[in-house]
């Protein structure tokens, strides 16, 4: 098995592009939510989300973050580079077709296009796959990249994913009464009432440690473990003791022991946050109360297919900056959420090893461990 390392990343959220934008927003505990101006929200219960200005296209955003990641890594993609994407199709292309018959961008409504677009742009000639597993899609892309590299199928992978707020999903989540009622996501907090959507697109470059060493590349972090597992419990609700999350994280943690920080899925819904807390207790036992846990969706919003990749980058940045990002919007303790959620203010900490977890509809769960080299 080859060791897997991270050598580059690119990221875009409602705060803007790159690490400094994350530092000024996510790590400052500043939520990006506001009234949606990108499209009309008449008739919706909730017209709030975390959007960057304008109406960006998903294809363009994915391309730009992938370019940034490859540039940071100094990687010339080639025959041995996989391109793995987590995305649904671009729903703005679906809406445009049904609203006006527009077909200029209709190919972008098919998710599989994105891996081809990135691979051709980057000149990557390894395997290409687009995962469509909703809120774990880009985490699945990263895990698959780790598997391909560990098994020696490829020596590098560009793993990307993203979602940009648009009317189709805003309407669907609104109809499902899943959106917060008070204009904020308050993960693990008393008074939490649901999630809000947010823009989030990210890409990371993974390599085998040997490949990075041969190139003389700067290694940002190691990825020593990953896991993917299912709850087998309920289509729309997590297992109350987070069965799948525990299985996925147990596989990811391996024999490496506890971590110094957990970037939680933390959607701000009643069911997710209590289940995730129970799962972290099961995972870490007596150590659980002393491990800082935060949900950075409290600042970025839920980025759906982009959540796994963006939160992987946030976790990486936490390690590099030796800073635990906070859970924003935290107003008070919920009796069933009894861990250290780093409320509202970032915290300096000697981080060496961190876990990031994500979950999705259907009971799908992912876990990835990052370590400083």
């Amino acid at each position: 098995m080859n060791d897997v390392v991270v050598t580059g990343f690119g990221v875009r959220t409602a705060f803007g592009d790159g690490a400094d934008a994350l530092r000024s927003g996510v790590f400052a505990g500043r939520a990006a939510f506001g009234p949606i101006e990108r499209f009309g929200t008449e008739g919706l219960r909730t017209g709030v989300a975390a959007c960057a200005p304008g109406t960006p296209r998903l294809r363009t955003a994915l391309t730009e973050v992938a370019d940034s990641a490859v540039a940071m890594a100094g990687l010339p993609p080639g025959r041995g580079t996989a391109v793995l994407v987590g995305a649904a199709g671009d729903f703005t292309a679906v809406t445009a077709f049904w609203a006006s018959g527009a077909t200029d961008d209709v190919e972008d409504s098919a998710a599989g296009r994105f891996a081809d677009v990135l691979a051709e742009r980057l000149g990557a000639r390894g395997p290409r796959t687009t995962f469509t597993t909703a809120c774990v899609a880009s985490a699945n892309a990263i895990v698959h990249g780790c598997r391909l590299i560990a098994a020696g199928v490829v020596d590098s992978a560009v793993c990307a994913g993203g979602y940009l707020v648009e009317p189709e999903n805003q309407s669907k989540f609104d109809s499902g009464r899943a959106l917060s009622r008070d204009g904020a996501i308050r993960p693990f907090s008393e008074g939490r009432s649901g999630l809000l959507l947010g823009d989030g697109v990210a890409a990371v470059v993974l390599e085998s440690a040997a490949h990075a060493a041969r190139r003389g590349a700067d290694v940002l972090a190691r990825v020593p473990g990953w896991g993917v597992a299912a709850d087998a419990h309920h289509i729309a609700r997590p297992h109350p003791r987070a069965r799948g999350l525990v299985l996925a994280a147990t596989a990811a943690l391996g024999k490496g022991g506890p971590v110094d920080y957990v970037n939680a899925h933390g959607t701000g819904t009643q069911h997710n946050d209590s289940a995730e807390t129970a799962g972290l207790h099961a995972l870490f036992g007596a150590d659980a109360p002393s491990i800082p846990v935060s949900s950075t969706k409290s600042t970025t919003g839920h980025m759906l297919e982009g959540a796994g990749a963006v939160e992987f980058v946030v976790t990486l940045l936490a390690l590099l900056d030796r800073t635990v990002p906070p859970t924003a919007g935290f107003t008070g303790r919920d009796p069933v959420c009894d861990l250290d959620y780093v409320p509202n203010e970032a915290r300096p900490a000697a981080l060496r090893r961190a876990l990031t977890v994500n979950a999705a509809f259907g009971g799908a769960n992912t876990a990835l461990v990052l370590e400083l080299p």
Binding site: K172, D231, F361, G363
Partner: protein, 193 residues
């Protein structure tokens, strides 16, 4: 990797699945899975569902409701991703391994069987590989016209239960049509339990 069992789906005979509406996508995936998972231990099993254009009926119906100013349907929200039917299958068979859905292209090496092979090498004993492609909607027909490819005239669904071993030659077919061709050929080679 070797094929342990195969099945194909048929829109005309696929039973409705409670909680799923309008689209044949989910009944087809469920029908194929039921044929292949009967008597199979769900532990150490993963599922990979491939679809190039996804559940286009659900996607397009939701979009039409939105653009026509009609109320959204919460059931369509629930089934908007393939995670929902994969979740249903996992509950019925107590499957706790990976549940993956993907949109394969034509490029070799990244299709559902390639993904399944890697899962088997990692930590699983069996992988259920499903492929569903629906007949064209006006939008997916437009996608095909832009690509210069032919829309599907009818729904297509197939599945393979695969395990470790030899017998399935590489390169694996990347798309659903290739899966269907394998599933329609009697190539099962082992004990699927």
């Amino acid at each position: 990797m070797k094929i342990l069992a195969t099945a194909v789906g048929d829109t005309a005979t696929a039973p409705q699945v409670t909680g799923f509406i309008e689209s044949p996508f989910n009944p087809l995936a469920h029908q194929v899975a039921e044929q292949l998972l009967s008597g199979v231990d769900g532990a150490r099993l993963g599922v990979v569902l491939a679809s190039e254009l996804g559940d286009s009926v659900t996607t397009d119906l939701s979009s039409r409701l939105l653009t026509e100013g009609r109320p959204a349907n919460a059931l369509l929200f629930m089934q908007a991703t393939a995670n929902a039917i994969l979740g249903r299958i996992s509950i019925e068979h107590d499957i706790t391994g990976p549940l993956l859905s993907l949109a394969p292209g034509e490029h070799p090496g990244g299709g559902p069987l390639d993904v399944a092979e890697l899962l088997l090498a990692d930590d699983l004993d069996r992988v259920l590989v499903l492929g569903v492609e629906l007949a064209g909607t006006p939008r997916t027909d437009a996608v095909h016209r832009r690509r210069g490819t032919e829309p599907r005239a009818a729904d297509l669904a197939a599945g393979l239960l695969v395990g470790r071993g030899d017998g399935l030659p590489k390169p694996y077919p990347p798309g659903v049509a290739g899966l269907h061709a394998l599933a329609a050929t009697p190539t099962a080679q082992g004990d699927r339990r």
